[in-house]
Symmetry: none
Subunit: 213 residues, 4 copies
């Protein structure tokens, strides 16, 4: 008995008759030669914010980490399992990517939870509560303000969290060194699910601005 979701099999049929058929040689070459992406994107698991769709990226272009709220924890070489740090290490050391993009988005459920003082653990493990504690200091500062609307506070924290993750990227000695040598660039981006607007972080002011399109 095999019960694989039909919706996924239907999509797979479209892939085979469409994109794969069009890019058959590209897939074969990528299989032979291995991947060589120049960009790592750290994105959210959110079903509305897939980087391959937003950046119209084909096979081999983007190495992608996806976790809740597209966060990077600080450097902690403590022998535990570190999914995100392991993928970072692989992208930077093995693939030698030239760009890392921390990509956030509007209406992020993780960020909303971080701003909710009454948020209950989702399970006895409270993995989300612990994970989102990465932005707790910023969440407390922004959440304590009662003049901005909830939506304004959420957008603010979504962007602050991107800067926070970029700072955490620099806590990895190798990333910091490569950035200083000009071999690696760290970028921030924020996607508005509703309007489709992409905002990118200005590397000097750290503000999020809309690029010329």
């Amino acid at each position: 008995m095999m019960s694989f979701p039909n919706s996924l099999l239907d999509g797979y049929r479209n892939f085979m008759s469409g994109r794969y058929a069009d890019a058959r040689d590209r897939y074969r070459q990528l299989a032979e030669n291995g991947q060589n992406p120049t960009t790592l994107v750290i994105a959210c698991c959110d079903s509305r914010a897939a980087p391959e769709l937003i950046f119209d990226a084909g096979p081999g272009e983007l190495f992608v980490i996806r976790n809740v709220a597209n966060m990077v924890p600080p450097y902690e070489p403590d022998g535990h399992f570190h999914s995100t740090s392991a993928a970072l290490e692989f992208a930077v050391q093995a693939l030698k990517v030239k760009n890392i993009v921390v990509m956030g988005h509007g209406r992020c459920g993780g960020i909303r939870a971080a701003l909710d003082p009454d948020a209950e653990p989702l399970s006895s493990g409270d993995f989300i509560g612990r994970w989102m504690s990465l932005v707790r200091p910023a969440a407390e500062q922004i959440g304590s303000n009662d003049v901005m609307t909830p939506a304004e506070r959420q957008t603010a924290l979504e962007r602050v969290s991107i800067r926070n993750s970029i700072n955490n990227l620099r806590s990895f000695p190798d990333i910091k060194a490569l950035e200083e040598e000009g071999k690696l660039e760290l970028h921030g981006a924020w996607f508005d699910i509703s309007t489709g607007e992409l905002w990118v972080m200005d590397s000097e002011t750290l503000d999020f601005i809309r690029p010329e399109i």
Copy 2:
């Protein structure tokens, strides 16, 4: 000064004039009502194996975790940051997904490293070494066999690792309970980058077979 990669901005322009323009109402509705995906896919960061491409999925359809070698660690409620466990908790408890698909692929760099007895740490943190130790027992069994070719050993471990992750999913009490209640299904899939073939795990035999297309 703003130095966002032009290749990404070019792709974004295509997205806005293409997919977004076509699905504007869908994006707005998803922003208004929030996401409601029924499927979580745990996939690899590999740039050649994006689930949205392989399953031709649109916005709102797939909640996606991506880490190296699409692995799930065992349940460890120890107060550390657990990127993958946090995302699992969010997908199962908050989004109440009905399906979890652990999706592996051929030519996986993480699995290759796990099979390489001479693999050196990629950095002093050795995050990848620690992360891939999740499949070390299986890697040692398969690696010690010298009758299978390297490619055969790698494909074998790629598939064993998917079953290993599905077993680890069941170490999460809530996931185990929901599966037993018939409210959540756990699936395995393996994608051949070269041929584009999708193989799915038979839920009874645990073999990987090619679905009828």
Copy 3:
């Protein structure tokens, strides 16, 4: 001797040969019958944010108050001179406008000053310091946060100040009553000088959003 600025006289010549020549009858009729605008706009003195330009408004369309940071003080019937309150009274009671729009803008010098803890009085009278104290409580909340960038804090306060002014409008008994009777609507708007974007306040969430254009 008459030393009227030549730049203004040059502009006036353009007006006479252009807009006035085109709208001569409209001007005569407006002189005969008096003005009958249905909208009051409370805008900033800023030279970059003239409402007649942004709303492409002709003669007779907008009754306009302009002060620093487009603010409305609370109702204070204390017998002092109240420029803004007097104009409000005239617009609501004599002209019976149907809409009041509090229109802010980006890069507002007054708001920037309100956020600057080291701001010195501009003169011994310190009129600006006193005037901007209308938003001091909000400025202190937003200014105390050190995770948003200066530009983010300024945009946030520009929008909070618009809501603050709308609340102050409701401290005028007649405005409150007319609004409750459905005879007067209060609106907020924010103009981005750089991009030309107009954001309007959602009357329910109080968020600023971009209208369909």
Copy 4:
């Protein structure tokens, strides 16, 4: 729900496709570098007398205060909110404008009210009554004369009020000092809504005359 007046959104569309599209670079530069207007215009809120239209002024050219009857109160550093004095202070001290133009116009409702002995307060706050008392002494002199027609009395007071405001400008110590140093010029102007005629005050005779066009 968002109920922003459609007439304004229509005008905004014209602005974006017209003036903004034509002056995009100018707006961006003004946003980057800040405003640097050399002229402050103190004009009436009247919908028929927008200085940007009459002087065909583009973005960044005029810093504009608009209150009822374009008046300047005397210097009163009493700690109350002074909308007009605050804007004056900002224009003179922060922007260092070179010209201040007090610009009146025909058919001014505020001046008419000041000349009406039977004028009732418009509301219990009587803000207009208090505000227009700035010209009461002149209004009583001119109103007591029964040989001029009502229209003649009104035009006369409109012009007297402009001179009165210019005298009040000189009650601000810094403005008086800058004018004496030749760093700031004070001007009067009067606009005839019906004919479009602009009359400017001769700085020696204080008469209003029509400039050579």
